[in-house]
């Protein structure tokens, strides 16, 4: 099909794709080059799935995009790098030859289906385009084939859906359409770049299963890029672990999961909480890299305890958003509909749900960042929702929140010192600037940052460090309740472990109560005493953490739990 004429058996022995000594650098200014991929080598065999795993900045996506040469315009592949596909050196191929290869031999699926589909063309058009380009089908034949493909990827009523525009479909269906587009020309290699990261966990499960089935059926090979080791264990035959542009370890999935050799791999496997263990602390990368043995991980019990005083009691909380509809009419959408729970001192309530379940709205409404439409929020007996703004002010201090996006939650024009001093100045904590500075320094040390951070700006810090600053900002007010709204979701797993450990330590030390909101069921299980499962604005189930995961009563909860990637364990179990 491509390239020279190797004899039949050497072709069979040679892997489909071989990447060797790949080096990619990005040109920032005119003269500065930053190396993102530093001599990476791996291979993808025929009809197998290879997973590229790594945290952000590991160079996994850049490596994959180098294969199809879809890098940003300021990227440069260094001479000496080699990417051989079916005997053909792709880095030496002409742009025209690459275009013939893309979409026909090597197809790609991207992370964000919403933005990756062209908004102004129908799904059918976009699928047919690939067919007409490579298989030279006529317009009618291509349209008919597009319907078959949509059917194959499990989109109901494909003959109608083929005329839909991307915005008319859900995220999961968009990603299915992307997959249909990718497999349209029967490629031999499918590159899937974090294909499920933007999706809810139940949808993720369906897409993963679809990809595995299609790979098998069409006898493709797949290069699967992800940060999630749980997914890797389920889907991959071979695993390549990357960190800061280099390959740390590669081998079969069994080798990687059962006998990991490199400390980084071992750390990655250990720092992610699991559903069946709850160690008092999570292992962090630093525990492994120096060659030290990870600390003994004894399980710490968590449960609801009737003796601790109640700090927060929420009764029948409602939040209705008004949407304009028609000339005069408004449509009311209940984002939170009758949610009740009790939070005790020193305990954690986990709130889980998929996107649109109203879990974030609960957090914002409880502390009156949204005005509630009904219900009560009793803080030490006082109904916060009935207070005036002025009366509320002293209570603001008592309930604080840590947001999801560490890049948006700190004012970019404020120094860290300014960020930490402002809340103290508003609430008159400390007698003056010197005393407040002393408190700020002490808190920075407490969250694991150096004191010289005070004079620096947020953009000089990494995501994990910014989240620590956000936590320190809350602590300046000595709150009783801390709401963590997806506070670790945007962080890499290794950083996530550190922040979770910090939160645990702070809770033990200061007897804080947490409302821990997350879509990540494993993390919620790890952090919580009690778990509230939400769906469509309603509370589906509320029970102690261990109970809910051991014996879920509600159908939805069961489905949610069944969708969690189980990693290597289930694969051997099957």
């Amino acid at each position: 099909m491509t390239g020279g004429e190797p004899s039949a058996d050497t072709a069979a022995l040679r892997p489909l794709l071989e990447v060797s000594e790949l080096r990619v650098a990005f040109r920032a200014e005119r003269h500065t080059l930053t190396e993102a991929v530093k001599g990476v080598s791996f291979a993808v065999g025929g009809q197998s799935t290879v997973a590229l795993v790594g945290e952000s900045g590991s160079g996994k996506s850049v490596s994959a995009m180098s294969i199809v040469r879809l890098l940003p315009e300021n990227a440069e592949i260094a001479p000496g790098s080699r990417i051989v596909y079916g005997g053909q050196d792709l880095l030496a191929a002409t742009p025209a030859a690459m275009r013939n290869l893309r979409g026909r031999d090597i197809a790609v699926i991207f992370q964000e289906p919403m933005t990756s589909l062209n908004p102004v063309f129908t799904i059918g058009d976009q699928i047919a385009e690939a067919l007409r380009r490579h298989v030279r089908l006529g317009a009618r034949a291509a349209a008919a084939r597009a319907v078959e493909l949509l059917d194959e990827v499990g989109i109901p009523r494909p003959a109608q859906r083929v005329r839909s525009y991307p915005h008319e479909m859900s995220g999961g269906q968009q990603q299915r359409a992307m997959i249909a587009m990718a497999i349209a020309c029967e490629p031999r290699l499918l590159i899937a770049d974090e294909p499920t990261t933007a999706l809810d966990v139940t949808i993720q499960r369906q897409i993963i299963e679809l990809l595995a089935r299609l790979r098998e059926k069409h006898q493709m090979s797949m290069l699967f890029i992800t940060h999630d080791l749980g997914l890797v264990g389920e889907i991959a035959d071979d695993v390549v672990v990357m960190q800061s542009g280099e390959v740390r370890e590669q081998g079969t999935a069994r080798e990687i999961f059962e006998t990991p050799r490199h400390p980084y791999t071992r750390a990655l496997l250990a720092c992610r909480p699991t559903l069946d263990h709850r160690p008092a602390r999570l292992a962090v990368i630093a525990d492994f890299v120096d060659g030290r043995q990870p600390p003994a991980l004894s399980d710490a019990p968590r449960s609801v305890n009737g003796h601790d005083p109640v700090v927060l009691e929420v009764r029948n909380l409602r939040k209705v958003f008004c949407m304009k509809k028609g000339l005069f009419s408004h449509e009311a959408v209940a984002a939170v509909d009758g949610v009740s729970f009790t939070l005790r001192r020193g305990h954690t309530l986990g709130v889980v749900g998929e996107s649109g379940s109203g879990k974030t709205t609960v957090g914002l409404t409880v502390m009156r960042l949204h005005e509630a439409s009904g219900g009560e929020v009793r803080f030490e007996g006082t109904d916060l929702l009935a207070l005036s703004d002025a009366q509320m002010q002293p209570y603001r201090r008592r309930i604080q929140i840590v947001f999801q996006n560490p890049y948006a939650s700190l004012n970019p024009r404020f120094t860290v010192g300014h960020i930490l001093l402002e809340p103290m100045a508003i609430h008159g904590i400390g007698s003056g600037t010197p005393e407040r500075l002393a408190i700020a320094r002490q808190l920075l040390r407490r969250v694991g940052l150096a004191e010289d951070a005070l004079g620096r700006y947020p953009h000089e810090f990494s995501g994990g460090q910014r989240q620590r600053i956000a936590i320190a900002r809350c602590l300046t007010l000595k709150p009783d309740v801390l709401i963590c709204d997806e506070s670790v979701s945007a962080l890499d797993v290794s950083v996530q472990a550190q922040v979770l450990n910090l939160l645990q330590d702070l809770q033990d030390e200061l007897a804080l109560s947490y409302i821990f909101i997350s879509h990540d069921l494993t993390v919620v299980k790890y952090m919580s005493d009690e778990v509230l499962v939400m769906s469509g604005g309603r509370c589906v189930e509320l029970a102690s953490a261990d109970e809910i995961y051991r014996a879920p009563r509600d159908e939805y909860t069961r489905r949610l739990l069944g969708s969690i990637p189980q990693g290597w364990r289930t694969k051997t179990g099957v």
């Binding site: 790609v108 991207f110 964000e112 933005t115 589909l117 063309f121």
Partner: protein, 312 residues
């Protein structure tokens, strides 16, 4: 869709009321006593009082406002203060020449700008791109006045390719004989800023994820640009046209002044110089109405380029 149009028309009511109030405020309040303007410098108090009574400005403000509102909706602004011509007649006769110039300018200008913008976006980052951008930036910074003065002198006086100025009653003579030079001028001068703007629209679209998907399908760069990017870039381009379209009627008043084209623009300049309030008031209110209608049409046109737009 009917419901959408009705709703949009309903929403125009407060805006129109605002425009009427603004114009009323400007001309009946800020503008001072029109009688003094009308009567000239030498007038005895009796004449002034007489004029005041005729214009109704001795009435309380709310009566004056009511008169103005009635004028707007009966299309009867009376007569021009300086030429004594009916205001409605002034407007109707001046629109033709303006459109003869501005419609070709709009069509040719937009087509050329989009075309060149695509070409420049195709060679983005190259020396050609940089040179075109520098030329465009420089060209933009020279005053329109300078272009008109130089071109009129060069092609009218020096080379005599086009008549220096003039206008007739015959549409075809106007279009073929008197209009070409102003049209060419307006197109050329308008090209640089539009090219820059549209190029930036294209470059912004080129950074979107769907472009990467299109490339991953093996499409050629030209096809990515002409099919995927162009269609998306048309959305902001349409917005831009919607902004400029109402200006069509004021036209390029400078061109009309220089080339002695009896259009709306020249009429307004004249009216401003003569303090001929009825003409300015009428033109302002009706053009505002027209602008609102154009905005509605542009909103409807979005539906054809952007399927995400729904008429709710």
């Amino acid at each position: 869709m009917t419901a959408f149009i009705l709703r949009r028309l309903w929403q125009m009511v407060p805006t129109l009321a605002g425009v009427i109030l603004l114009v009323f405020f400007l001309f009946n309040w800020v503008g001072g006593d029109p009688a003094l303007v009308l009567a000239g410098k030498v007038a005895d108090p009796a004449t002034i009082a007489n004029i005041r009574r005729q214009l109704g400005v001795d009435q309380p403000y709310w009566v004056q406002l009511w008169i103005f509102v009635k004028q707007v909706f009966t299309f009867d602004f009376g007569r021009s203060w300086s030429t004594n011509e009916e205001v409605a007649h002034v407007i109707l006769t001046r629109i033709g020449p303006t459109l003869t110039i501005m419609v070709p300018v709009m069509l040719i200008g937009t087509t050329l700008a989009v075309l060149f913008a695509v070409l420049v976006a195709y060679v983005r980052g190259t020396l050609t791109d940089r040179i075109v951008m520098i030329v465009a930036t420089t060209a933009m910074s020279v005053s329109f006045l300078v272009y008109i003065i130089v071109f009129q002198w060069l092609f009218g006086f020096r080379f005599g390719i086009f008549p220096v100025q003039g206008w007739t009653d015959d549409f075809w003579t106007n279009l073929t004989r008197y209009a070409p030079l102003p049209i060419i001028l307006a197109v050329l001068v308008g090209l640089a800023p539009e090219l820059r703007l549209y190029r930036s629209f294209f470059l912004e679209e080129l950074e979107q994820d769907y472009v990467r998907t299109a490339r991953a399908k093996g499409l050629s760069e030209a096809r990515v640009l002409l099919r995927h990017v162009l269609r998306n870039a048309l959305i902001p381009i349409l917005t831009n046209i919607g902004i400029y379209l109402p200006g069509l009627f004021v036209g390029s008043f400078l061109l009309e002044v220089f080339f002695a084209i009896p259009g709306l623009g020249r009429e307004i300049i004249g009216a401003v110089n003569r303090s001929d309030f009825p003409v300015i008031k009428a033109v302002t209110v009706y053009l505002a109405m027209f602008t609102m209608l154009v905005n509605l049409l542009v909103d409807l046109a979005y539906r054809f380029v952007d399927p995400r737009v729904t008429f709710r």
